[in-house]
């Protein structure tokens, strides 16, 4: 699931909730969907909670360093 994009995961989660709410899926199928939905929700939350902000700067030579606003 690491290749998945946030918006794809969110879209799939929406689709699952919709099909669960609309469909007449038997319990075993509903459980499979539910399990996928739980994984997607966790993935989305992880993406959202991800780490702290990281502000970096890439210099002309391709070097990356932490960014600090230069005073003009």
């Amino acid at each position: 699931m690491s290749e998945l994009k946030f918006e794809e995961a969110l879209a799939r989660l929406e689709e699952i909730v919709r099909s669960l709410e609309q469909g007449e899926a038997p319990l075993d199928e509903a459980l499979v969907l539910f399990e996928e939905g739980v994984k997607l929700a966790r993935f989305c939350n992880e993406k959202l909670d991800q780490a702290e902000a990281k502000i970096e700067v890439m210099l002309n030579d391709g070097q990356i360093e932490a960014f600090e606003v230069k005073e003009s």
Binding site: L13, V17, G37, L48, V69
Partner: protein
């Protein structure tokens, strides 16, 4: 002795001479006269000064975007190319753009470039790409110092505390600015940023001119990463704004457009999760109720109940079947006698037995009237028992 050529040939040669680059991208200033806005939508007029006059035509496709209607006496700058109208042997200026007099060189160049790039399709809506809903990492191309970067980072961090940003410092004004911006854009292509904010704070037209650079416009069009332009204030439009996938009026607005509010997304995911759990709980509750209902049915309470029910029914059916068979035979016999009786009353045999006879011609036709036969003809008469062959002796009608 000169070899004469045709008028058409000469005109063609003149036309070809006039297609030299010197006449293909020109700007000429003059006073409008003989202005006609033809029904077809095209505009025909002349431009003149104290000593000369040149015919001009501006086709409908070009003049539709004019922000003013030219009139006789206006002094305007026409941008376009020289061409020859062969049927009349006239050269004229084919106008792409009309600009009011007094527009500065920079503005003139801007309008010309804008016209040209637009015609090339660089601003087409179909080229615009959507931004990612949640960017993985945001590239910011702007000055390393100044208000723009401060504003952008401030808004990004406020909306999305976990934001990942990679800044590509560039000169945003002065002679080296376009090249510096292009370098930064190229540098960004090799990184994992999935959206770019490119811009600077507001300034005069001259200060924003780096964002009106043709090479920068082309570099932006070639970017594999969607670009949000953010040059100056609300009212300033640059070429970069037209080429960008999205134009933000200011650097802060660009930051707003690029990241969602983290809390909005968290709430959305939580809501989906709740709906899903809620559904499952309801589903399990209703399924459990159904199982309970089933388990209380007599069948499950006493497993032999159903078998006994079936056995009893079977017995009933057997009894019924026996009764029907016996009863049925008696019934059928009575019915048969009845039907045979009805058949007998309809049979002609019974009528003959009562003394009637059937008389037929030799061909077998039944005789009902005397004049159907001639005297001397043979007729057959069927009696109750046996038949007669007779000759008609007389006829009485």
């Amino acid at each position: 002795m000169l070899q004469p050529i045709s008028v058409s040939e000469l005109t063609k040669q003149i036309k070809s001479a006039l297609t030299s680059p010197a006449f293909q991208s020109i700007a000429v200033e003059g006073e409008v006269s003989n202005f006609i806005h033809h029904r077809s939508g095209h505009m025909y007029f002349s431009l003149k000064d104290a000593h000369s006059r040149i015919k001009a035509v501006m086709f409908r496709g070009r003049n539709q975007r004019l922000e003013f209607l030219p009139k006789n006496g206006d002094t305007l700058i026409a941008v376009g190319s020289i061409g020859v109208y062969e049927p009349n042997g006239e050269y004229q200026i084919y106008v792409d753009l009309l600009l009011p007099q007094g527009i500065g060189d920079l503005h003139l160049a801007f309008e010309q470039l804008k016209e040209r790039l637009e015609r090339e399709g660089l601003f087409d809506a179909s080229r615009k790409r959507p931004l990612p809903a949640l960017p993985h990492r945001i590239g910011v191309i702007t000055s390393h110092s100044g208000a723009a970067i401060r504003d952008i980072l401030h808004v990004l961090l406020r909306r999305y505390p976990g934001v990942q940003v990679l800044v590509f410092p560039a000169l945003v004004q002065g002679e080296g600015a376009p090249a510096s911006l292009i370098d930064a854009l190229e540098l960004a292509q090799g990184t994992d940023v999935d959206v770019i904010i490119m811009g600077r704070g507001g300034g005069s037209f001259e200060e924003l001119s780096a964002f009106n650079d043709e090479q920068l416009a082309r570099a932006m069009a070639g970017s594999r990463i969607p670009i949000v332009s953010a040059c100056g204030h609300e009212t300033d439009f640059t070429i970069a704004d037209f080429v960008a996938d999205l134009r933000a009026p200011t650097p802060s607005a660009a930051a707003e457009l690029v990241v969602p509010l983290q809390e909005d997304l968290l709430r959305e995911v939580a809501s989906l999760q709740n709906r899903m759990v809620g559904f499952l709980e309801r589903k399990i509750r209703s399924d459990r109720r159904y199982v309970k209902q089933l388990s209380q049915s007599p069948l499950l309470q006493r497993p032999d109940y159903h078998v006994n029910q079936l056995r009893q029914r079977l017995d009933e059916l057997w009894t019924g079947l026996g009764r029907y068979q016996r009863h049925g035979v008696v019934l059928k016999r009575g019915k048969l006698a009845n039907v045979v009786g009805k058949l007998e009353t309809l049979s002609p045999l019974q009528t003959l037995a009562r003394g009637y006879a059937i008389c037929q011609t030799e061909q077998g036709a039944i005789l009902r009237q005397a004049y159907d036969v001639e005297p001397g003809e043979i007729v057959h008469v069927t009696l109750h028992e046996g038949s007669l062959t007779c000759t008609v002796e007389g006829r009485h009608t």
